[in-house]
Amino acid sequence: MGLGESAFVTKISGTSTILCQLNGTRIALSHDAAKNILVEPLVSRSAPPAMPTVSLSSLAVGSSATVREFPKSGAAFLRLREMGLLAGTRITLIRTAPLGDPIEIKVRGYHLTLRKSEADHVLVEKTV
């Protein structure tokens, strides 16, 4: 019904029976079912993604995107979070290095470089 991994869901109400909204559809779930679904709360209350999420490393140079998803563990990702790369943050891909790796992005007003191997795991939604 569309509630797969990486889906963006908004909880509308409920404690024993959960009512949530997903891609324009409303779905009801029993507590037992909802108990087994793990979600990552998002900071911002922005609209559900209009575009599919792609990895940061596959963005075209010059395009802007909003970060949607992040791996939970890994020293690199914690550090990226601390430097301001959080779900809901807007970024722009400035360029790639002449040899193709690493890539340079603009985030929160400054320029940051990271390897493609790290950017592969960061899922973003392109801004139209």
Binding site: A75, R79, M83, L86, P98, E104, T113, R115
Partner: protein, 685 residues
């Protein structure tokens, strides 16, 4: 003083303390301790510690671990500071506020310095300083450290008797609040921390996944660890991402503040830095610029350094002559002239190259180009598991490994730094050049041989060394020093005009550190080496005979069985031993051994003498094969005590220099052996 890297902290530190600063070491770690003195409004001295730059108190490198430990009062050698100066870069306030947010948790007196206000204005940012002060509750001093603006106000703030405590009430996210309380309670009860510091530490412990612990830092009580592990296990089971929850919560709070305080004048077009970067990281122009800058640096170290080096040589020799003529003949005089003075000269001679290299490095860092160079080179470097920042130390090692090894300080990850240090001497340094030249002259005698052959052989040796370096780097990163691939998360700061004062201060600092730390070791060992070649004395012997029956000569005889399979005899053995003082000493030692005077320009007499040398059975000693074998040996062998001394200093132990001697000399022997024996088997004699 704390702050993000590139926030202008060092400029501010230099502006406050001037020449009244000292660079030392934090005991037990290879992190530098920078302490200076400045004066309050009323003339009272204030000690300022410039802590390593960091983005967060959740440390990812030893440098950051030291910053965290000093602020938390965990280091026995550095008491918790009375006040904290937090430097923020006004051009990207949000990210900088993250560190400040963590620091405010500590509940210590904090003064915020808002630096780079001029750059913020240029970027179209209008920052409401008074509003920020109101939001934070601590003094906020706007500053332009580069132009010296704001220093007076800063000194006034630093001189205040009382600094108000921050207005810093933010709610720890509900999911992790109970864990924080428990940890805090344990830290207060078992580790003896004050409540606020305990809470700050508790928060840190949660984001401290794989955080770095360094020597010299007081460990936490076992009970605290238990509680932490219990909670972490529980969260892992539940799937709670506690670290992210905490970071998000902080950025929420920061976002609120930033929204009130920063007024951006809308989207501005490409900045000056953007335009420069378009060229500097261009697939074609980028390489051209990098090549040009590296060539300029390299040529300077090779040629510009010549003049001061010759100057030093002449004056050291003159001093020695003076002492020779004014003192009575005897052992003491020889000790002073050939031992001590020569030893000191051997140390000082490195200064010009070190100063020039660090001038360039300081210049590149100051303008912001260094980050771009690392950015461009990273792909190549990471192929062998190295960091992009290893590029310049390795390149400089072509001139001399000593400044190259000192330059590895910029590499944050200790394993990457160590690997770079271990392989740097394989990049054929300029001291090997006289050895190569001598061998090539013996190898292909006669001026009718095309120059290209000689150049070709030379280049082959350089290539061999370079491949060796990268090969061993790859090997070490795979085996011994295996670690997570280096993080390449790096900020590209905006370009700016170099701050010459900072560059020169940095350069002088490095030179001084070299003299003080490495100089003593080098001097000691040179005297020992001199002793070995001068004693036991045989009066009325020629220089050659004296050398032959000295301790060094006897060592050469002892060494002979080991080096015979490589095509060397005991006379060459003496040369190998003397190369420990400096590789180029090989040439002059051969001159003494074979009784032929020679100087750098004209090696013909020496070459002829060597070509006439024979083994006891009458076969020639320096066959072409032996020459090649010797050159190959020099490519790989670790000689040069000065390098050993600097490796000892930079790694804080004797383990790694000894390992380096072992692996390099071992490889030298093996490769030389293969070359010589294979050559003989194939009939080349």
């Amino acid at each position: 003083m704390v702050g993000n890297p590139n926030c202008g902290k060092s400029t501010l530190f230099n502006a406050l303390t001037g020449l009244k600063q000292k660079v030392g070491n934090y005991p037990g770690v290879t992190v530098e301790k920078k302490v200076g003195t400045t004066y309050s409004q009323h003339g009272q001295p204030i000690t300022v510690i410039d802590l390593p730059g960091t983005y967060s108190l959740a440390a990812r490198s030893p440098d950051e671990a030291v910053t965290r430990d000093v602020l938390l009062g965990r280091r026995a050698d550095t008491p918790m500071p009375d006040r904290i100066l937090c430097i923020l870069d006004a051009t990207n306030l949000e990210r900088n506020l993250y560190l400040l947010h963590q620091i405010l948790d500590l509940g210590r007196p904090v003064i915020v310095v808002l630096n780079m206000m001029d750059l913020a204005a240029q970027a179209g940012l209008n920052i409401r300083v008074a509003r920020l002060e109101h939001e934070l509750g601590v003094p906020v001093i706007p500053c332009e450290a580069v132009h010296g603006k704001g220093l007076v106000e800063l000194r006034v703030a630093m001189s205040r008797l009382e600094i108000p405590l921050a207005r810093h009430a933010w709610d720890v996210p509900a999911a992790i609040a109970p864990a924080i309380s428990e940890l805090q309670a344990s830290l207060v009860a078992n580790d003896g921390k004050s409540p606020l510091i305990a809470r700050a530490e508790a928060l840190l412990l949660l984001t401290d996944q794989d955080s770095v612990r360094v020597a010299g830092s007081v460990p936490l009580h076992a009970k605290t660890h238990e509680i932490l592990q219990a909670w972490q296990k529980r969260w892992e089971g539940e799937g709670t991402d506690w670290a992210a929850t905490l970071v998000n919560s902080r950025y929420d709070a920061i976002g609120t503040i930033a929204a009130e305080v920063v007024l951006a004048a809308g989207e501005t077009g490409p900045t000056r830095s953007d335009k420069i970067d378009a060229v500097v990281t261009h697939p074609i122009w980028g390489w051209a610029i990098l090549g040009a800058i590296m060539t300029a640096m390299f040529v300077s170290i090779f040629t510009l350094a010549e003049y001061p080096m010759n100057f030093i040589d002449e004056h050291v020799a003159a001093l020695a002559d003076f002492v020779k003529s004014s003192m009575a003949e005897g052992d003491l005089r020889d000790l002073i002239t050939d031992g001590a003075i020569a030893g000191v000269g051997g140390v000082i001679i490195f200064l010009p190259q070190i100063l020039i290299l660090f001038f360039f490095i300081g210049l590149l860092e100051s303008t912001g180009y260094m980050a771009r160079a690392a950015f461009i080179m990273d792909r190549l470097m990471s192929r062998v598991g190295l960091n992009g920042k290893s590029f310049i130390p390795l390149l400089s090692s072509y001139a001399c490994a000593i400044p190259g090894i000192m330059a590895t300080r910029t590499i944050e990850q200790p394993k990457d730094r160590l690997v770079t240090i271990l392989v740097a001497p394989l990049m054929s340094c300029s001291a090997r050049l006289p050895v190569y030249l001598l061998m090539i002259a013996a190898l292909v005698p006669g001026d009718r041989v095309p120059v290209m052959t000689k150049v070709g052989i030379m280049l082959a040796m350089y290539a061999l060394g370079t491949f060796g370096a990268f090969g061993f780097a790859w090997l070490f990163k795979r085996t011994l020093l295996r670690g997570a691939p280096p993080l390449m998360i790096m900020e590209l700061p905006p370009y700016h005009f170099p701050r010459f004062r900072d560059v020169l201060l940095h350069m002088v600092e490095r030179g001084w550190i070299f003299l003080r730390r490495a100089g003593t070791v080098i001097l000691a060992i040179s005297i020992v080496l001199w002793f070995l070649s001068a004693y036991p004395k045989s009066p009325d012997a020629t220089a050659s005979e004296q050398l032959a029956q000295s301790f060094a000569g006897r060592a050469g005889h002892v060494l002979e069985p080991v080096i015979e399979p490589l095509g060397f005899n005991w006379q060459v053995g003496i040369g190998l031993i003397s190369s420990f003082a400096a590789r180029e000493v090989f040439v002059s030692t051969m001159g003494v051994v074979f009784n032929a005077e020679s100087d750098e320009e004209d090696t013909t007499p020496l070459r002829d003498a060597m070509l006439n040398a024979q083994w006891p059975d009458g076969s020639p000693l320096f066959t072409p094969l032996t020459c090649i074998s010797l050159m190959v040996f020099y490519v790989f062998a670790m000689q040069c005590i000065s390098t050993i001394a600097i490796v000892r200093r930079e790694t804080n132990s004797w383990r790694w220099p000894l390992f380096q001697i072992g692996y390099m000399t071992g490889t030298a022997w093996i490769v030389s052996f293969i070359v010589y024996q294979a050559g003989r088997a194939l009939g080349f004699q």
